[in-house]
């Protein structure tokens, strides 16, 4: 059974258990409004959840019960024993259907229509008491089949305890590791410790996964929901999902699933117009529904926006008066925001027509109730004719996020990576800093954004000047972009964010605390709050319009971004940004020329190096672009990195240059675009060896075991074990005799830097680059 379905079954069953008591109480006192509401919410939620799946029987039953109960809630119908029985029968049937769904069986007994009919007021004399159990299983639940995947639900508190225990173990492990390192090599302890360490990492990962889920998990079902709903309603809707990598508590995911479904239903049903209406209003006929998730400090922020007609504020106000939620005078005294807030009141609906898709104004008050129950909040922003945006905020009880550690004034802070668009050095020529009034602005790639200095936010003195600092470009969930100037960027880490004490939350700068792997606590910055505190948030949400502009349909092909550089033969070249993993500098010594090919030693691996004409340039360090196709990597040497640019001109093929995609004009200059595909086709020999080649090292030699073996292991080779292990390469030291084995390549090392007589073919044993290159070429022949 897939995860979603399992969740649905588990959740429905949990609700059924919770509601059992309510049902009995309601039966005793049908006028009890609180019980009625609880039961109503249950059937409403079941109906909502059915939207994810194809369960027509469940949907019909819950819709019928919901309709009947809505009548009672609206005061149009008195709850009597007859209705109570009818509703109870429906709830029982829902339970049976859920059991059948879990077992993966077709639930055979029919009679849903009879149950639904029994809810109708006109069937008042048709007595349906007691609840019709006779046709089902005779009252006793069938034993559940054992072969389906069962999930169990655990109290979150228990998982928290486990999680914190494991975190303690990790910290203790790190401490122990440090002490072991200090104590030196102790093979008897190191081995078992390594094992323990690896197991602990596994356990930690498992525990983390127990609690966390990517919001993607929730997103997965949405395109289908949107498709089905828009088809049903004769609308065209495109859904744009963002921030699927945001992880949050399973519990939170479950909490927001219903509210999200409700909001989406409402947006498609009421918000987004029909294609003809949209065209008449001068909009694209396809409506856009945008959902984006961000981690904002210790809260998860979820924006759900549509570009539909917006909420009709006058109608909402009129309805509120008509339904007795507020008096005419009260409504008139309200401002726009307060009127919009009315949609979260119970019993307000502006929909004239009740459809099976979205209901009768129950959705939003249930949404708010569910969110507030977990300490979340919801607010709405709507503009006439332009759309509606719901902003959901959820607390973060425990959440792992990718963070960037920045340093300012000698202190360390964490910034959630989800906000970060880009990082640039103040010294970069592409970046300009201007002072206008009391504010600083930075212009980077043609965009001018306000800049705030971290040190002034914190009231500290910065250690370095702005020009020497680093600018972190931050984009808020609303679309606003600004730069945060810090002294330095230190690290990337996965962070477990814990809530802060109220006294520290009150500063408005921090969103949570984080324990680094070295055991030190640091604070995570609350970026949105800092932005608000510095007046950097505009009220107009610009994101929607930009997203709309980028919507598919335009014939313009997306312009690619390229890195511009000067090649070693003095030509101006560009390479597509997607292929560039990073820019690195390598020492000249790390480069070796083998035949007609260059290769370089980088991070313990030998990578092919393109861009050099088989001769090494006269400089100590060479800048290289590290290119990756996802599996393998190669390097491209550049004489100088110029800038990045958008490819907007035509690309003209160039004859006779098989390593160029073509030529184009960038910034008024002719630029050759490097054909990454051809580059990889030529150089990517076997970058990811399927098997690690085996090396035999001189037996019983202390140096070989202590110095050579670790180098080999680190470079992707395996050191042969015992005589039976047939090696691909045999390493010999000095004058040692060659073994008689076949099919093994010999690499001879010598102890002295100078090659003695007859030693021309040997390699000095500390010439790491040459040694690795020789191994590489030996493996290539093997």
């Amino acid at each position: 059974m897939d995860d979603l379905l399992a969740d649905f079954v588990a959740e429905t069953r949990e609700m059924l258990e919770a509601i059992e008591g309510e049902v009995v109480a309601w039966e005793a006192d049908p006028s009890d409004r609180a019980r009625l509401d609880a039961i109503f919410r249950f059937v409403h939620t079941v109906k909502g959840n059915c939207g994810f799946f194809d369960f027509p029987r469940l949907e019909k039953l819950s819709h019928a019960a919901e309709s009947a109960l809505a009548e009672v809630r609206a005061g149009r119908r008195q709850p009597g024993a007859h209705l109570v029985n009818g509703v109870l029968a429906v709830i029982d049937r829902i339970a049976e259907l859920v059991d059948a769904i879990e077992a993966g069986e077709e639930f055979v007994p029919n009679g849903d229509d009879r149950l639904i009919a029994a809810l109708e007021p006109e069937s008042e004399d048709d007595t349906l008491a007691p609840a019709p159990q006779e046709e089902s299983t005779g009252g006793s639940k069938p034993a559940r089949p054992a072969n389906c995947v069962r999930s169990i639900r655990l109290p979150v508190e228990l998982l928290d305890r486990l999680m914190s225990g494991v975190s303690d173990m990790v910290l203790a492990r790190n401490d122990l590791a440090r002490r072991l390192r200090e104590a030196g090599n102790q093979p008897a302890i190191d081995g078992p410790f390594e094992r323990l360490s690896a197991i602990l990492d596994d356990v930690r990962q498992g525990v983390t996964q127990m609690r966390m889920q990517r919001i993607e998990h929730l997103y997965n079902a949405l395109p289908r929901l949107v498709r089905d709903l828009s088809a049903e309603l004769g609308k065209q809707v495109l859904i744009d999902l963002e921030g699927g990598e945001v992880e949050l508590d399973r519990e939170m995911i479950e909490t927001i699933r219903d509210p999200l479904t409700h909001i989406i239903r409402n947006a498609i049903d009421h918000g987004i117009e029909t294609p003809s209406e949209r065209l008449a209003a001068g909009k694209r006929e396809i409506g856009l529904l945008t959902i984006s998730a961000r981690q904002a400090g210790n809260r998860i922020s979820l924006l759900v926006g549509d570009d539909g007609r917006g909420l009709d504020i006058d109608r909402i106000a009129a309805k509120a008066v008509a339904n007795g939620l507020a008096t005419k005078g009260e409504v008139e005294a309200m401002n726009r925001e307060q009127k919009l807030e009315l949609i979260f009141e119970a019993g307000l609906s502006t929909a004239e027509k009740v459809s099976g898709v979205s209901g009768r104004g129950v959705g939003m008050d249930v949404v708010r109730a569910n969110l507030e129950k977990v300490g979340g909040s919801i607010d709405v922003d709507s503009r006439d004719g332009e759309g509606t945006t719901f902003h959901l905020q959820l607390p973060l009880t425990l959440s792992i996020i990718a963070g960037l550690i920045v340093g300012t004034s000698g202190r360390r802070f964490a910034v959630p990576r989800s906000y970060i668009e880009e990082i640039a050095r103040g010294s970069s020529s592409a970046l300009e800093i201007e002072h206008l009034g009391d504010t600083r602005f930075v212009t980077f790639r043609g965009t001018r954004v306000p800049c705030i200095e971290m040190s002034s936010v914190l009231g500290l003195d910065s250690e370095v000047s702005l020009e020497q600092g680093v600018f972190v470009f931050v984009r808020l969930a609303g679309g606003d972009l600004f730069a945060l100037a810090v002294d330095r960027v230190l690290d990337n880490e996965d962070l477990v964010v814990k809530p802060l004490a109220p006294a520290l939350m009150a500063t408005g700068i921090y969103g949570g605390s984080v324990l680094l792997d070295d055991g030190n606590p640091i604070l995570m910055l609350d970026i949105p709050n800092i932005a608000v505190g510095h007046g950097l948030v505009s009220q107009i949400r610009t994101r929607r319009s930009t997203a709309f502009d980028a919507a598919p349909g335009d014939t313009v092909t997306p312009a690619g971004q390229v890195v511009l550089f000067e090649s070693f033969d003095g030509k101006r070249r560009a390479i597509r940004m997607e292929a560039v993993a990073r820019i690195q500098t390598i020492a000249r010594d790390a480069v070796s020329v083998e035949g007609d090919r260059c290769q370089a030693l980088l991070d313990g691996a030998i990578l092919p190096l393109a861009g050099l004409a088989n001769e090494l340039p006269e400089r100590d360090a060479i800048t290289v672009l590290r290119l990756s196709d996802g599996d393998s990597e190669l390097l491209h040497a550049v004489a100088e990195i110029d800038n990045t640019a958008d490819l907007d001109g035509d690309i003209v093929p160039v004859d006779g240059e098989d390593l160029l995609e073509g030529s184009t004009i960038v910034g008024g200059r002719q630029t050759g675009i490097v054909d990454v595909h051809a580059l990889f086709a030529r150089h990517a020999r076997k970058l990811a060896p399927a098997r690690r080649p085996t090396c035999r090292i001189p037996d019983g030699d202390g140096w070989a075991r202590t110095f050579l073996a670790p180098l080999l292991e680190a470079s992707g080779y395996r050191v042969a074990n015992g005589v039976e292990d047939a090696p691909d390469i045999t390493l010999l030291l000095d004058e040692a005799d060659e073994p008689g084995e076949q099919g093994s390549h010999i690499v001879r090392l010598r102890s002295t830097p100078d090659a003695g007589p007859g030693g021309a073919s040997s390699i000095y044993r500390y010439d790491r680059a040459a040694l690795l290159a020789a191994l590489e070429s030996a493996t290539g022949e093997a």
């Binding site: 202190r411 936010v457 914190l458 004490a501 109220p502 006294a503 500063t507 605390s513 984080v514």
Partner: protein
């Protein structure tokens, strides 16, 4: 009667913390300061896998002067789900209360009045029984509550 109390010195004065509220007594070696935090928050410190907010009890009571013989020890407590380390001058002992807390007649001074739950007699002398939540709330918060 008989309640166990953690006896500590805050600003040179003897204070008693109900030991049922104290999870442990730790020695703080490294405190990470928090810029822009209120003065009574000394910073953050790590205790095993938890980050504790360090409250300087002297500053929380509005006692400015430095202690004569601080030992850098702190009582670890939990208030409303958040873990704190209450930094005191030094921790003396754990003793049994010899009396119910009594409101002392004389005023103790503004800071002490705010956190005092009364005076208790113990075997090592009288002490002011302090309200942990009031210390953690700090002078400003307490002022707000009073308003």
């Amino acid at each position: 009667m008989g309640e166990l109390l953690l006896m500590a010195r805050i600003g040179g004065r003897r204070a008693a913390i109900p030991s049922a509220q104290v999870q442990s007594v730790v020695e703080l070696d490294h405190i990470v300061p928090v810029p822009r935090a209120p003065g009574f928050v000394a910073g953050l410190t790590a205790l095993r896998s938890r980050a504790l907010t360090v409250i300087d009890a002297r500053r929380a009571l509005g006692i400015g002067h430095a202690p004569d013989e601080a030992d850098g020890r702190a009582a670890v407590v939990e208030v409303e789900g958040h873990a704190y380390a209450i930094l005191v001058d030094r921790v003396e002992d754990v003793v049994e209360a010899a009396s119910e807390p009594e409101r002392p007649d004389a005023t103790l001074g503004e800071g002490w009045n705010r956190v005092s739950l009364g005076m208790v007699e113990t075997a090592i002398g009288p002490a002011i029984l302090v309200d942990i939540a009031a210390i953690v709330a700090g002078p400003d918060q307490a002022a707000k509550h009073a308003a």
